[in-house]
Symmetry: C2
Subunit: 480 residues, 2 copies
């Protein structure tokens, strides 16, 4: 694969996409798919050679890394995407399907028949097949499984048995193992008989007769050592050992902390079953951070940017529904103070400010705490300390912004009482925000829930309804 | 370093913190820092041996990897943190300072005098020193620079000259280079003379007399090849070549796509100057995603969870100020319709719903587009297509939620006209949200700004003020 690539600079990553688009455009023009007005007249002669554009495009694609083809597919609208997909050599289908995002993968798989899917799946190794399996039709999986050798079938079964987010779902079965009582000379001879080592082989795993892990032999150490000595003399204890059921997030943290390239995965009886490599960890980190980002933006999952409108609607409606529900509650709170607003309309204009600053401040608190929880930085005994700190920050914010808002309200509406209510409501809503910003993640983590999910919606619901209630309530008490 | 560690399981990462806390607690108890009621009575005898706890703690810390010590420091309140920091062996100060978060680093550096800082800095290599430099007092830097050998000083100068977010700021100068006309036998002998290879050496760099990059020699290939052949015969063309001024985000994307462990960094004349390794890339990805998450939560930067209240206030006030400003504008919009609200108070209760659903829907659009832009998936010619799609989604959302809200408004306030205004305002604000959700990132990317920064604040400002204006405007036209 690496041999295919000539020297690549970072700018080339995007250049490939532009070239493919250029070729697609010429092809579309030749086919009459694009209006002629859009391009300069001299290009019209190319109509005669439109077959040639496709051939050129095919050659271009053949020279690209599967990940680059995946990137191009993701950046093309559906119609162009399928033209390119048709041109990609069939024996690379599997690899490319692995690289594209879930949403785009769906659109590609929908364009393939069962035979093509089976052929694509059969080019993959067990751990890769496991990644693809959820998106494939059941009959395709069945056919592929039947064609697998027994060992691969067992690996596939094993990889599929671990849920997403565990080490088991990311691990890789290809690795080199050696015994501790052989010489480095023998190890070297053994390695030379292999055509090439599995990707990301930075170390060999030393196991005993029962495949129990004894240590590791880094390649860098093998190279600098005397060939006469035995493996046992130069092997090192592995830094981190993983289990298939370990959380992928914890494993990623270990890779980050100890700068690992690969780590062994062992079963309950300490037998080596697989390894985890840094490329899988990098993919996991990217995906996990994308999920957080998408969830915070109110999207259920990664979206194909050229998805049909109805697919996008399905990806988005649930968060809108939840937000609408919380907005409705806030609306009922306002409704309860109808009488006060009728008497003093300024309240209607000022109330969103109080709710808004509470929401923003609460989001700051909850973001910081959710992050610290995810990094394992908050120990049970420090919650009270944290709450005290957040209340302190809320108090300072309250005094600063409350005073400012109070003065503005006084200047705008010439009422000292209204200014006072505005200031007091701001302080109280900021305190509410701090309280809920600490309490919500605390409660959720105590009950074993992921404190990140929906944290922003929850805190905003509290500070909106709470802010309206506090401000309108104070106004009703003191002003009307 | 790796030798220090015995076998580690993922659960041990948190276990270390608990053990340190236990020892700290006993120490604090012995010192009378903690009230006796908090712990069981039998522990009181330990007062007699409090020196021993510190010794035990010191031993515990000495056996930990610098990254683990960093994690423990981050999770401890200031007072305990400084007790632990005092106990860490001075010669590891530098490494540990590199590993802790910026905020916590500040608190540690504040506790050290110049001599300690100089001693800590002197244990680091040029690229590491460059990472630490922004947090060190100028006189410390100066003293350290003077003590550096000329080559290291040049490297430090070079690393410091590239801004954050570039390859130059992440690159590493330690690597092994070989010539293409020597035999693998000679390469192996050369490597054996080194005590150990630099971390993350998965390949050697083949350079000519002028240090121009000719190719790479992967260790895995060196090991399986015949020792009699020359480097030129087995070297491979490097997959990706980086320049120091390349964006770190692009480099990270290349590492992710091609599953790299290391990549060469060359200057404008193609001479090898450094390399980038996957551990630096992983750190970069983590930090970049943390920054996004923090910015979206309204925090300027990573916060020490035990930061003094005033530090936290400084980290948060700017976003609150911006949000307050946009809320104020929305408030003035409402104020302009005071007359209508006075006549029909229900408007005050319903208007936040219209603004809210617009904000949520706009955030969904902008999140998707900002992500796609960051991944390089949006080409200039597709903006119109994207806008059409988003308007389509907005229309479906508008019909679905507008109808629902219209019916609810009708049921609550028994006014068909109010229900109609509610429905129409919802549709229009969703269309506004889609329009701005596409236009804002488009404009920002056209003018070379980062479309991610503040995108949520901008879109919410539009949909809040816009939503109030549309709803109250329609109500004024048709209802009052």
């Amino acid at each position: 694969m690496s041999e295919l690539l000539t020297r690549l600079e970072v700018e080339d990553l995007k250049e490939n996409l532009r070239e493919v688009q250029e070729l697609l455009h010429r092809h579309a023009l030749a086919e009459g798919l694009v209006s002629r007005q859009e391009i300069p007249r001299h290009a019209l002669v190319e109509q005669l050679v439109h077959k040639q554009h496709l051939a050129e495009l095919r050659t271009k694609l053949e020279n690209l890394h599967p990940a680059d083809v995946a990137y191009i597919l993701e950046a093309l609208p559906l119609e162009e995407r399928l033209v390119v997909w048709e041109l990609v050599k069939a024996d690379r289908d599997g690899e490319i399907l692995l690289e594209v995002s879930d949403a785009v993968r769906e659109s590609l798989i929908a364009s393939m028949d069962s035979d093509e899917l089976v052929a694509a799946a059969e080019t993959l190794e067990a751990d890769e097949l496991a990644d693809l399996a959820p998106d494939l039709p059941a009959e395709v999986i069945q056919e592929v499984v039947q064609s697998l050798p027994a060992e691969e079938r067992e690996r596939l079964r094993s990889a599929l048995s671990y849920p997403e987010g565990t080490v088991g779902a990311l691990m890789d079965f290809e690795m080199v193992t050696v015994r501790e009582d052989v010489t480095l000379e023998a190890v070297t001879r053994y390695l030379r008989r292999m055509d090439e080592l599995p990707d990301h082989t930075d170390q060999l795993y030393v196991v005993d007769r029962e495949r129990r892990l004894r240590g590791t032999l880094p390649l860098a150490r093998l190279i600098v050592s005397d060939l006469d000595v035995e493996v046992a003399a130069v092997m090192v204890p592995e830094r981190v050992t993983l289990h298939p059921q370990d959380r992928a997030a914890d494993a990623a943290q270990a890779f980050e902390r100890y700068d690992l390239v690969s780590a062994p995965v062992v079963d309950a009886r300490d037998r080596l079953v697989a390894r985890l490599t840094v490329d899988a960890v990098v993919d996991y980190i990217r995906e996990a951070s994308a999920e957080t980002q998408l969830a915070e933006g109110g999207l259920r999952e990664e979206e194909d940017i050229f998805a049909p409108v109805l697919n996008s609607f399905r990806n988005r409606w649930s968060w809108l529904a939840i937000n609408l529900f919380t907005a409705f509650i806030a609306s009922r709170v306002i409704n309860a103070f109808e009488g006060s607003i009728a008497k003093l309309v300024a309240l209607a204009a000022l109330m969103p400010i109080v709710a808004g600053i509470g929401g923003n401040s609460g989001n700051q608190t909850i973001t910081m705490i959710v992050r610290a929880l995810a990094l394992g930085q908050i120990q049970a005994q420090y919650w009270r300390k944290l709450l005290a700190k957040e209340l302190g920050v809320a108090l300072i914010n309250g005094v600063v912004w409350g005073t400012l808002l109070g003065v503005i309200a006084y200047v705008l509406y010439s009422s000292i009482a209204l200014g006072g209510v505005m200031a007091l409501a701001t302080v109280l809503n900021l305190i509410l925000a701090a309280l809920m910003g600490v309490t919500i993640p605390w409660l959720r983590s105590r009950f074993g829930k992921d404190p990140a999910i929906g944290s922003s919606v929850l805190i905003t619901a509290c500070t909106d309804s709470g802010g309206f209630f506090i401000f309108l309530g104070l106004a009703t008490l003191f002003l009307v």
